[in-house]
Symmetry: C2
Subunit: 64 residues, 2 copies
DNA sequence: TACTTTTGTAAAGCAAACTTTACATAAAAA
DNA sequence: TTTTTATGTAAAGTTTGCTTTACAAAAGTA
């Protein structure tokens, strides 16, 4: 699953640390998600959706 | 997090077992999600979204 | 009623999401 | 160049999504 988190974050001049604090996860978790190491949980995806004002489907690209 | 999985499933005359097989999880997992025992992973949510032809946000109601 | 299907749930175990600590590298700023 | 900030990554541990097995109860059907 690809995602646009890094682009959305940097476009807002936020650091991984900033985003992590707002979302309520660790900086390493943001880094891992941006790097595609693993997918976020549904609650984490929802929090990002709310912050970036974009539907989950537009931030995360699901591919079978 | 509330969800409409049970309604969507029964509206299509599917059993938990049917849905589980299509989505690729166990029947107990479907039951737990319907009962709100836990949230599905993002990939599982995407599969349901595809099957029911509804955006994730319309199937799962996130509440802080 | 008797039988079959569907649902609910519990226990034990595995895997993935996430944590904390820690350190190394890269990039930006002084 | 020196110092600070931001990013990358690793290791060990916790939590949660999910599995299998198993059984009980509810609901539908003969």
């Amino acid at each position: 699953m690809k995602n646009k988190i890094r682009d959305l974050r940097t476009a807002r001049n936020m650091t991984q640390e900033d985003l992590a604090e707002i979302i309520g996860v660790s900086r390493q978790t943001i880094n891992a998600i941006e790097k595609g190491k693993f997918d976020p949980s549904l609650p984490t995806a929802f929090k990002m959706s709310k912050l970036f004002k974009l539907p989950i489907e537009q931030m995360f690209l699901f591919e079978e």
